[in-house]
């Protein structure tokens, strides 16, 4: 393959040679090259295969809109699929491979799909593969059989599974003015805003600022446009108020002028510096946004327009001017507007032969004729390209006379030998960001393009984005926009003098040349003009139907170049003007963004860990931890060789026989303070708290407004106006919000503060027959005997010189105490208790033993208060005060909530002495083969050391009436069936003699 690199020119650094590979073959390029330009310079023209027909494809574009040249970039085992070669900056060691081809890019077996041609037209799948109506392949089977192959054939790149070790980061930014796009308009806007002293961010998706100035070949203030741009960038760099973000694509315009941008920080580097993220996700809250995002050139639709070698005119120009690469030696330009004449001249200047300019318009202005001769090109006005020739690369094309008004072709076909066809179908402003926010774009019949909608948020447009396609206009608009965005009145920056190639910005309204052969509209998805017409015939005429029926615009390029031609063809089929057809909805992201960047700092760190003060102690002392929400809690403290069941049975047994201690720091704790605290609690809890004496605690139950059970816990009265409420671990946040809502919104007259003090207190619950003796051995400053510390009493004292608060209450059913200390002292107090407990056989126990003991006692937790149960269902109706209203009281007696067949809490005993499983169901009649007739389910189960049986808590229909009856556990998921007895949920010590002591 021959080198297409020009001798001079371009903005590449010829002194720096970079080595990389593509499909395993080594190549070189220069700093400043993209993968596309470097390969093109090396003579590569075949870059990819299309989605459906696997047709050979070359470069269409030079920027983000590239639909054909998608590659996978490899970093070791880490794959990055579907990246346009035009957006990959080369670096030493870059490894890129082509996609969607087998065995190789040049010889792709699936290209046979093309033979399916007309059968594989739009809507093909909906009409077939239903399979036989009867027999083994009926139903979904036949389709699934076919689908298996279809799925394998579909898809572009292959995603990797190797972990990506890169880091991704988020930045929150605030500015007065965000300028998106750094072409002449954007640069000038940034400068004007910065001159006013505004905080400015300038984001440009390309590596280099300047936009079209980098390749337009125009002159600004007597210098090449690129130099002018460079000067401006230099001035902006020196301004403290300005943040310049190159390689940063603003991809989303969200409510509240919040914009999302992706900065590719190290994608162009061989290695990242320490701690440097691969990509940075900028969430930018902007006062005002200047949208200076430029425009896209559109392809023309004609037979063979997808052959490698056919590309957009400005792309050809850009390869020549910016990258010093000639896309072809013999070039033909095909256009419906003036802009391509400039491209022709540029290509000529760069050293290509411009054989002809084919213009669909018959009357071409004298200026354009002059440009044609300047390019040394034959001007074929009133002509159109009707076919292209060649295999995997363009070798020639055919032109015919074309009538602009009728679209008719006439005369003989003439063949022209060419290896590059530079086409221009006019320009579409890049209105994506403006449209994302919701407003509809407006069709401009002069520009033959959708122009930006009226702003729905605070943005101002400038430059080609607004349809102002000349550089002088772009600069003037940019300055005005920057000034206005910064709230200034007089600009400091003078307007430069632009010398540009002249041209009429309005194209002829020609989108398609109708001739024989496949004419592509959506290149990546192989949607042809015929597909659009088929959609029309079948009634899929709305643009949104057109899109979904043909998949036009649904590929990785999101139809950046193809949408307008596609809907123009539909408009013609309908005989309607384009504005009545409309355009499909623009959605974020503007260009695809990596999922890693969106997860940003949470990649690999989804949720923080919540640790109790004694966490490290538990780990050091052999606890197996259990994750409960964000918390970690000891599950068991297993001894060597113990199973989980052996461990919790040992722990529970020891607790009931002597004493056990458990970390309860995760319980939600809320300080409820103020003169109205007691009144507030009376309203919030179903039972009474205003009658609670200072120094005492009470078990409380809360309902939701709708009358269902919400949460339970003990609340301690520490002072007349000072309560400490505890909640379940899982509901702590919810209860807090519930209380705050009522205080703020419903009862603002109550003087109460609620504060989360969960983290203030370390809590240890110590229970068992020896618990009091252990406390007595280590607590100073207070007695803990029955008189000083009766059931539900609270005392203050010291353990290990640390102030503690002790409340005598019990979850385990034993004589038990909760010892609270400042969290910073938690481990110290915990260790002191354990030390004191040694002579008494104190064990540490975890959640499993805790659960076991609560099941034995029949206490409820979140498994039973599951948002569907009432106080009555759980036999907590004794807590429903009749003396006062409370949250939920008005709603709790509705018919559905008091029905007799509701699920009610019961106990179950295994009669076959085999363990239960959580989530098993209960049935009256066992039918293992065909389980049915569930009357309830198990919420919690364990082996009960106290009873010597496998037991469970369950919610069973009309459960209370079933005490003493037999039934079966039915657990088809785990194939466990067997007889049970339904009993009261209070298995153990039902009259509470143990805890009352």
């Amino acid at each position: 393959m021959s080198s297409r690199r020009t001798e001079t020119g371009g903005r590449i650094d010829r002194l720096r040679t970079i080595r990389f590979t593509f499909d395993g073959a080594p190549y070189t390029g220069h700093a400043g090259d993209t993968l596309a330009s470097a390969l093109l310079a090396s003579g590569v023209t075949l870059f990819g295969r299309s989605f459906k027909y696997h047709r050979p494809r070359g470069l269409l574009a030079a920027g983000v809109e590239e639909p054909n040249a998608l590659v996978t970039v490899l970093r070791g085992d880490v794959r990055e699929p579907n990246i346009p070669a035009t957006m990959v900056e080369i670096y030493d060691g870059l490894v890129a491979v082509s996609q969607n081809r087998s065995p190789s890019l040049a010889w792709d077996i699936s290209a046979l799909n093309q033979l399916g041609g007309k059968v594989l037209s739009a809507g093909f799948y909906y009409k077939t593969f239903m399979g036989p109506v009867i027999g083994p392949l009926k139903g979904t089977r036949f389709w699934m059989f076919c689908e298996h192959f279809i799925r394998r054939a579909a898809g572009l790149g292959r995603a990797g599974t190797a972990p990506d070790t890169s880091r991704y980061e988020r930045m929150n930014a605030f500015c007065d003015v965000l300028v998106v796009g750094s072409g002449p308009a954007g640069l000038m806007a940034a400068k004007a805003a910065a001159d006013q002293g505004a905080r400015v961010i300038l984001a440009e998706l390309e590596a280099r600022f300047g936009g079209s100035a980098n390749w337009s070949g125009e002159t600004i203030d007597d210098a090449p446009a690129a130099d002018w741009a460079g000067r401006l960038v230099g001035q902006l760099e020196g301004n403290d108020n300005v943040r310049l973000l190159p390689r940063t694509t603003v991809w989303g315009y969200y409510d509240g002028n919040t914009l999302a941008a992706l900065e590719r920080v190290t994608d162009h580097k061989e290695v990242a510096a320490r701690g440097e993220p691969r990509q940075r996700y900028w969430a930018i809250r902007a006062g005002t946004v200047v949208l200076a995002t430029g425009s896209f050139e559109r392809p023309l639709v004609f037979p063979g327009n997808d052959r490698p070698g056919v590309m957009l005119a400005h792309a050809a120009e850009r390869y020549a001017n910016e990258y010093a690469v000639l896309p072809g030696e013999r070039t033909v330009v095909f256009t419906n507007n003036d802009s391509a004449y400039r491209s022709a001249v540029a290509l000529k200047k760069a050293g290509a032969a411009v054989v002809a300019i084919v213009d669909v318009r018959s009357d071409v202005s004298s200026e354009m004729s002059r440009l044609a001769s300047e390019a040394d090109a034959e001007l074929l006005a009133g002509h159109a390209v009707v076919a292209t020739e060649g295999g995997k690369a363009l070798t020639g094309l055919k032109v015919q006379r074309f009538d602009l008004t009728s679209g008719a072709l006439s005369g003989d076909e003439r063949s022209i030998h060419a290896d590059c066809l530079a086409m221009s179908g006019g320009w579409s402003p890049t209105i994506h960001l403006a449209s994302q926010a919701g407003a509809r774009a407006e069709w401009d019949p002069g520009r033959q393009a959708f122009l930006p909608p009226q702003p729905t948020q605070r943005w101002i447009g400038a430059g080609a984005f607004t349809g102002s396609f000349s550089t002088a206009e772009a600069i003037a608009e940019g300055r005005a926009a920057g000034l206005q965005a910064a709230g200034g009145t007089a600009s400091l920056a003078p307007l430069p003098v632009v010398e540009a190639v002249p041209g009429d910005p309005d194209p002829a309204p020609v989108f398609e040349i109708k001739a024989k052969g496949k004419s592509f509209v959506d290149f990546q998805h192989d949607v042809t003009a015929e597909d659009v017409r088929l959609a029309h015939r079948e009634g899929f005429v709305s643009v949104e139907h057109l899109k979904r029926y043909t998949t036009l615009g649904m590929a990785t390029d999101q139809g950046k170049s193809s949408n307008v031609p596609g809907l123009a063809i539909m408009a013609e089929a309908l005989g309607k003007p384009i504005p009545e057809v409309g355009t499909t909805r623009f959605r974020p992201p503007y260009t695809a963004v990596s999922i890693g960047s969106l997860a940003a700092e949470r990649f690999g760190d989804l949720k923080p860990e919540r640790l109790t003060p004694m966490h490290d102690w538990h780990i050091e002392n052999g606890a197996t931890m259990y994750s409960a929400g964000l918390w970690y809690r000891p599950m068991i403290y297993g001894l060597a060789g113990e199973t989980v069941e052996q461990a919790y049975v040992r722990e529970a047994k020891a607790t009931r026989e002597s004493a056990g201690i458990v970390d309860v720091s995760t319980l939600g704790k809320i300080a409820v303070q103020g003169p109205d605290a007691a009144e507030f609690l009376d309203r919030v809890y179903t039972n009474m708290f205003s009658t609670l004496a200072v120094g005492k605690a009470r078990y409380g139950l809360m309902l939701r407004e709708d009358g269902l059970a919400f949460d339970d816990g003990t609340t301690w009265r520490l002072g007349e106006q000072d309560f400490l409420m505890t909640t379940t671990t899982a509901n702590a946040g919810k209860v807090m919000q519930h209380l705050e809502y009522f205080l703020d919104v419903i009862w603002p007259e109550l003087k109460v503060t609620v504060t989360s003090v969960t983290d203030e207190w370390a809590g240890a619950a110590i229970g068992g027959p020896k618990a009091r003796a252990i406390l007595a051995a280590c607590v100073k400053g207070t007695a803990v005997d029955n008189a000083a510390l009766p059931f539900m009493g609270i005392v203050h004292g010291e353990i290990a010189s640390v102030p503690v608060m002790i409340c005598r209450l019990s979850f385990s059913g034993e004589m038990a105490f909760e010892v609270y200390s400042g969290a910073g002292y938690g481990t110290r107090v915990w260790e002191a208790l354990i030390e004191a407990g040694k002579p008494f056989g104190l064990v540490t126990y975890g959640l499993e033993a805790l659960g076991t003991m609560r099941i034995e006692k029949g206490h409820v937790t979140g498994a039973e208060i599951d948002g569907r149960t009432t106080a009555r269902d759980l036999h907590l109706d004794w807590m429903l005060s009749k003396k006062k209203p409370f949250i939920g009281s008005a709603m709790m007696d509705r018919e559905g909530l008091i029905a007799s067949d509701r699920l009610q809490l019961v106990g179950l005993v295994s009669l076959d002495n085999r363990p239960f499983n959580g989530g098993a169901h209960v049935v009256e009649e066992l039918d293992e083969a065909n389980p049915h007739g569930s009357i309830g389910h198990i919420t919690a189960c364990c082996y009960s050391p106290a009873l010597g049986k496998y037991i469970a808590l369950a919610l069973v229909k009309g459960g209370k009436a079933r005490h003493g009856t037999r039934a079966f556990v039915s657990d088809p998921l785990r194939n466990r069936f067997g007889p049970i007895e339904i009993v009261s949920n209070h298995f153990y010590d039902p009259d509470g003699s143990r805890m009352h002591g």
Partner: protein
Amino acid sequence: MVERQSPLEPAYHPGSHGNFEHGVDVILSETRPGSILQLAAWPGEEKRLIDAIRKVTGLALPDGAGGGVSNGGRAAFGFAPGKFTVVDEAEGLASAFAGVITPDIGTVTDLSHGRTAIRIAGPKAEWVMAKFFAIDFALPAFPLGAGRSTNHHDVFAQIQRSGADQFDIYVFRSFARSFWKALCHASEEVGYEVH
């Protein structure tokens, strides 16, 4: 008094880390104040509460939402309507307020154990903070002494600007270690030192 255990301990590694060869741009530390209080005034009683803060601590809070002051040993700032955080190097501040904030003014809640104070200082402090919180850290938007309450996903934080390039972050103790690790991780890019 007995020394308190820091929740950061096993993750607290004094020294230079990350990209420090190219300069240390932030310094991270745990400040371990003895007292962290939350004071809340009933609506209409804010002025009396602010007076009380001045009386007890000598800190004169500027008027306005989120206003605050910090003088090294002591700091105070508003973080919510009628609510203030008051911090003292020394323990025992709660008892100093006990008689002063009477029930007709508001409430005092001692959070000395429940919150962990982390300080970030240095030229890149704003940059690193911006990685976590969606609030504007630029000096004009977040003046010296001012307080803000905000969150980083599940981690709730109160932040006070205690210097031109210094912030004190108060997080729930149980989350502190996770947050600290994340903060260190995010600081690697700019090079950091733990004091």
